[in-house]
């Protein structure tokens, strides 16, 4: 099984709204799962993340929790956002009785993938174990909202209602003075059967199809067996970046999309992020600069980009964003700080200038 070959991940130094991260992560994961890009060539120094997760899962099932955790963490090093990996981590933490950490892990998943029922369900089980039936109820109701036929959540929810009813009677009728917490028999879910869906409305979704235009004889990277239900992915419209909000979040969203396009080697999309009056470097004409970018991007076999935002300032129709960029390709590794000056055109942000340094 081949995993993603190019990846964009985000580490935000400053506090940004969860929503932007969510959105980006969804695009990210659709890249993750739908990618048909060239295989990741292993330098041999480390195993592919896919294998780490597979091994971790085996170890977890064998009850070798410490080893499973090491494997899962190794996988998450290179793919910190991977949903299956994080889910497995949550399961391992639960088994290790590290309940607060397990809760945090599943909370993270519910925030990044609110439409997945399994993290909600498992959160509910952990909350119920702590005697917090109200929180458990909310988590299960969220699971059922998006998956009304999800049987486990319904059964667990029935249990929660029973506990809450009993609690109410105990309080009102002054019954159970022993305050014994009930043995909650809620069922943890051990597998996620669905995969994160790409956001419906927002237009540009990175695609296998587009990529296959550039590399026709590619085997489609097949996802892990459990993630079979890959959501249908629409072809990318040729150029424009997404409509995005005229604020910090919108700017960062746009830059995230630009990085994705770049790492996906989608030159047309990449170039579409640059404003008409973009300040080309080295005195190149626009045409020459574009040709140079196209050549360099296509030359790389694989591209991986990580961004860490330092600051984002929006003033009217202009914005200045500073971030740390880690670029890794098959031939080049470079880390530098970049400053992008963005300008608002209609409902989109475009790059007006790009320079190294902060």
């Amino acid at each position: 099984m081949n995993y993603i070959t190019s990846l964009v991940s985000f580490q935000t130094a400053s506090r940004i709204s969860r929503r932007a991260v969510l959105v980006s992560a969804r695009w990210l994961s659709s890249v993750v799962l739908g990618s048909v890009l060239a295989q990741f060539t292993m330098s041999g120094a480390f195993a592919a993340p896919a294998d780490d997760f597979k091994d971790a899962s085996k170890l977890y099932q064998q009850g070798k929790l410490e080893q499973a955790m090491s494997k899962v963490n190794a996988g998450l090093q290179t793919q910190p956002k991977d949903a299956q990996g994080r889910f497995l981590k949550g399961l391992i933490l639960t088994e290790q009785k590290k309940v607060p950490d397990a809760i945090q892990t599943f909370i993270g998943l519910t925030q990044d993938y609110p439409e997945l029922p399994e993290p909600h369900n498992n959160l509910a089980v952990l909350y119920a174990g702590q005697g917090n039936y109200e929180k458990a109820k909310v988590a299960l109701e969220l699971a059922i909202q998006t998956h009304p036929a999800y049987a486990t959540a319904h059964e667990n929810l029935g249990d929660i209602y029973a506990q809450l009813a009993r609690r109410a009677y105990d309080k009102a009728l002054q019954l159970d003075k022993s305050n014994a917490t009930a043995q909650s028999k809620l069922a943890m879910v051990k597998e996620m059967f669905s995969v994160p869906k790409p956001i419906a409305a927002a237009a540009a979704v990175v695609t296998t199809a587009a990529a296959s235009k550039t590399e026709p004889a590619k085997t489609v990277a097949s996802a892990a067996p459990a993630t079979a239900a890959i959501a249908a992915i629409a072809p990318i419209p040729a150029s424009p970046p997404l409509a995005s909000a005229a604020n910090e979040d919108g700017v960062k969203k746009t830059i995230a999309a630009w990085a994705i396009a770049w790492s996906a080697k989608d030159v047309n999309a990449y170039l579409g992020f640059y404003a008409a009056n973009f300040e080309t470097p080295d005195g190149l004409t626009r045409g020459a600069w574009e040709a140079q970018r196209k050549e360099r991007i296509e030359r790389a076999k694989t591209i991986k980009i990580e961004l860490a935002f330092r600051s984002a300032k929006v003033k009217g129709n202009e914005a200045t964003v500073v971030f740390r960029q880690a670029y890794r390709s098959d031939t080049v590794n470079s880390n530098n700080t970049k400053t992008l000056k963005m300008v608002r055109a209609g409902d989109k942000w475009l790059i007006q200038s790009e320079r190294a340094g902060g």
Partner: protein, 415 residues
């Protein structure tokens, strides 16, 4: 509304008293599996509640449904069932007493009726969740006379009637049932006050079902209210019975009758097995405090000590010692303590000996009011012999706490 106020007081007192009473939590007594429930209906209530904890709503409903099938008029069961069906919608449970969140304001009758059902739920469940220890004993019953095969003790606060068998003079708890008393509680003082009397009575007869309307269920056991103490206290009224319920009713609220003691029909049938008309004492107390056997024996021992000391002092012909056992509040047949004392001195002046035999002794706590410590009611067959007289009589005494000891406040013939 007086009724609601009485319920509220009863509930808060129940909570306080229940906390103070010697009790064992459900789990500690191994209740869930092995407890004897007074009847199937209470078993279903407790099992439904326990099942909520570890089985969920559906199994809890099954418990209730089984009981409701046999007792379709069990309103409390229906209310709890409705609550559980509503539980998933997040609506407030009626049995918790929180008003419903919808806009419709329920009628006063509905509010009152649900409050009654909640009260019934509370007392029925407290019987098991705050159960007295299996060997705990009430100081209300200190000594049973040989002729008294069983005695009944009513805990007015907790709406429960307990049945004791006579085990060589010691009470042995054999059964108990949920019971309804007067709408306005206890301390009956006059006809129509809707209160149940406090005190020690006995079942005078059995009235067969055929002689009654079906309002009374399978039958009735009248008790001798007003007794001598009631008459002395100027309390009037009549027709206080123990009886059942009409056919369309399974059980009535804890505070509902005109003063009678009412049981469900199935419970009344069970109770009837223990009742000996003409004999069985019925002790009606504001509340029952359960003691360990050791503490109970200590109370009994102390009181018995005073009784025996009184007998010895009487036989000793030492009038000062004898009269020290009598309260300054003593009153009997129009005599006060001064009259009694001068009479006794005169009678005993010429005697050379007095011998008193006490047999068939019974001692019960006699409550005259809710917030006053009870008297001790003592009856015995007295065989009196002196140098110039011999009598046999059935004697009745009431003793009260005074100056740190027990003293006689009434003495006379038992009727």
């Amino acid at each position: 509304m007086a009724n609601a106020a009485v319920i509220a007081v009863a509930l808060s007192l129940a909570n306080a008293a229940a906390a103070a009473a010697q009790s064992a939590p459900l789990e500690a007594t191994g209740l869930a599996g092995s407890v004897a429930f007074s009847n199937e209906v209470e078993g279903a209530l407790v099992r439904a509640l326990e099942t909520l904890k570890d089985g969920g709503i559906k199994p809890a409903l099954k418990e209730l449904d089984a009981a409701l099938a046999k007792n379709p008029n069990f309103r409390l069961g229906h209310l709890m069932r409705g609550d559980l069906l509503m539980a998933k919608s997040g609506a407030a449970l009626a049995l918790t007493g929180t008003p419903p969140s919808n806009d419709k304001t329920p009628k006063p009758e509905t509010i009152a009726s649900i409050a009654n059902l909640r009260h019934e739920a509370q007392v029925r469940l407290h019987r098991y969740y705050d159960a007295p220890a299996a060997d705990a004993l009430p100081t209300a019953v200190l000594q049973m006379a040989p002729g008294q095969e069983h005695a009944l003790l009513i805990d007015s606060l907790r709406s429960r009637i307990y049945v004791f068998r006579n085990d060589n003079g010691r009470p042995l708890r054999v059964a108990d049932f949920y019971t309804t008393i007067g709408k306005l509680g206890t301390e009956k003082a006059r006809e129509g006050d809707q209160k149940t009397p406090l005190g020690v009575y006995r079942v005078t007869s059995k009235v067969a079902k055929e002689k009654l309307t079906d309002f009374y269920g399978p039958g009735a056991f009248p008790i001798n209210f007003p007794n001598d103490m009631d008459k002395r206290l100027g309390r009037t009224g009549s027709g206080i019975w123990i009886h059942g319920t009409p056919p369309d009713t399974y059980s009535r609220p804890p505070l509902a009758s005109d003063g009678c003691v009412v049981l469900t029909n199935e419970d009344f049938q069970q109770l009837g097995k223990y009742v000996d008309p003409g004999t069985t004492p019925v002790v009606i107390a504001p509340s029952v405090e359960w003691q360990s056997p050791a503490d109970w024996s200590a109370v009994r021992g102390v009181f018995n000590g005073y009784l025996m000391e009184w007998k010895r002092d009487w036989e000793s012909l030492n009038m000062d010692a004898y009269l020290a056992h009598y309260s300054r509040a003593f009153a009997a047949d129009g005599k006060n303590i001064a009259d009694w004392a001068s009479n006794k001195r005169r009678i005993n002046a010429g005697k050379s000996f007095v011998k008193v035999e006490i047999q068939n002794l019974s001692v019960f706590e006699y409550s005259t009011a809710i917030n006053q410590p009870p008297l001790m009611m003592v009856t015995f067959d007295q065989d009196y012999k002196s140098s110039n007289n011999a009598t046999r009589m059935k004697k009745l005494q009431y003793w009260q706490r005074e100056d740190g000891r027990w003293k006689i406040v009434f003495e006379g013939a038992a009727s």
